[in-house]
Amino acid sequence: MRTKRSTPWLYLGAALAVLAFFLIYPSINTIYLSFFGRNSEKFVGASNYVYAFTNRTMLTALRNNILWVVVFTPLTVFLGLILAVMLDRVKYETTVKFIIFIPMAISFVGASVIWKFVYAYRPPLASQIGLLNAFLGVLHFPPLPWLIKRPWINNLSLIGVGVWVWTGFCMVILSASYKALPRQLLEAARIDGANEWKVFWKVIFPLMMPTITVLITTQLITVLKVFDIVYVMTNGNFGTEVIANRMYKEMFNFRNFGRASTIAVVLLLLVLPMMLINLKRFRERRG
């Protein structure tokens, strides 16, 4: 389009100013601050990084983030895939999809309170008001303190909330991709005598691999930054700390801006591979 040389910059000006001030400048500044002490006055070299990878709570947080990654990511994607394929075969597909998608509209704070109530614990013999412990009671099991029992039960309980929120998202994306598959191909496999199990693993799964890969990267970015659920439900107590919550604590509870910056940089480093994958995909689409 023929325009004056200054015109593009008039259109871009506000956006570039906002991006520079709210994303680019602070990101660079945070990397710089991560090499300084709690008030950003004294240069401390890499000692914040040594802290980030040796402190016990930080190690717990890193371990838990890994746990979130290896449980949350495959579970949401796999459940979403199974639901997409199963629901395609029943008449009440829309209703169930709707139900599973609702949590996406609810805030993590809301979801956390909803599930805190499901996990509510009373000592044995008291009447249980939490759905899960009441259910255990029906089966004659003693009640479980879901959010306190470390190290696995409580972390998995928190991850369960995340799965509840995000499965609907995966299901919607995978369902769209499943419905776009060439039906003749699935029929051909069935006519050749493949059972449903085989059709799923040998035909459907490989064909949907590109969508699944994209979904895994987005889920990884989401899960690495998990904050709200942990902040509201346990605030990282009982060995449920995660990186983002740790950063918030360093910043506001301990007022150590050097360490908080370092933890943010660690988070960035963890997300970096996904950023590179995104850029590569972007270039391929353009190229």
């Binding site: 389009m1 956006a15 029943v90 704070v109 972007f282």
Partner: protein, 287 residues
């Protein structure tokens, strides 16, 4: 024939059972808080919410008092209003700024266009934790922390990369002849932007607006950091999470507060599901 049909439906029983179990797992927690928010404190503390089904139509077991309590005494009324005051400008502002920039990126030639756009794609996944400390410091100096304009600007910054990216994709998809013929007719870039580009991109703008609205409405971290938990300006997410701390066992109040906080997103979800799904799909790579 009939026999075949019966065996077929029996063999499909497991499918239906699995789907219904999953659907129940997804819907029961939300029903639990809805029911609890209408029960009397004593009932909530002594029996599970499902016991209402013994006597579902006995209206004497329901009350609206929890709602009046949380709205007037727990600050949820004020917080609900604050959420709207925060969310509406924080939705309009980034989309407005982004559409100008997206238009320039899509249809104007200027030096550095490609590299600027690649930086934008990279910014999509930068964890916002990277920006919190430097921006908070600047906000403190300018007196913007704890104010609505501060958080409007912050959300504008965080929402901008995705908004520019998506709007660019749809503006770039418009036919070039459209612009050429408009130009031959003597239309200025400003005229083309307001009278051609914006109207044609309305569906994308709608999706984006819904997504940004939800993102801001459901946000906890940004509000915690820049509004500093001041009750006068706190949105519902912050208020609910602080109630979890102070009213941890008073489930009738917590559930009422949560239910109020999820009403606007749920209304949005029920009324604009099509745009909602598209917005969520589109927003899947937000950082």
């Amino acid at each position: 024939m009939i026999k075949e049909r019966i065996t077929r439906s029996i063999s499909r029983m497991p499918l239906h059972i699995i789907i219904i179990l999953i659907a129940l797992t997804w819907i029961l927690p939300t029903i639990g808080i809805l029911v609890t928010s209408f029960r009397f404190p004593h009932d909530v503390a002594t029996s599970g919410w499902w016991t209402i089904f013994k006597n579902l139509f006995n209206s004497r077991q329901y009350t609206l008092e929890n709602y009046t309590t949380v709205i007037t005494q727990c600050g949820i009324g004020r917080a609900f209003l604050n959420s709207f005051i925060i969310t509406i400008p924080a939705t309009v502002l980034p989309i407005l700024i982004a559409s100008f920039a997206a238009y320039a990126f899509a249809w104007m030639g200027f030096p550095g266009r490609q590299s600027l756009f690649i930086i934008l794609v990279a910014l999509l996944v930068v964890p916002l934790q990277m920006t919190l400390i430097p921006i908070l410091r600047v906000f403190n100096q300018l007196g913007l922390s704890g104010t609505f304009p501060g958080i409007w600007l912050a959300h504008t910054g965080y929402g901008l990369p995705l908004a520019v990216y998506l709007l660019h994709n749809s503006i770039a998809g418009l036919p070039g002849e459209l612009f050429d013929s408009a130009e031959i007719d003597g239309a200025s870039p400003t005229y083309i932007f307001f009278w051609l580009v914006l109207p044609l991109c309305l569906p994308v703008i709608a999706s984006l607006a819904i997504f940004q609205f939800l993102w801001v409405w459901n946000d906890l971290l940004v509000a915690l950091v820049y509004l500093g938990g001041t009750p006068d300006v706190a949105p519902v997410t912050v208020q609910v999470s602080s109630l979890v701390g102070s009213y941890g066992q008073e489930w009738e109040l917590l559930t009422a507060a949560v239910f109020i906080s999820i009403i606007p997103p749920l209304i949005l979800f029920f009324s604009l599901q099509r745009y909602f799904v598209r917005g969520i799909l589109a927003g899947s790579i937000k950082g």
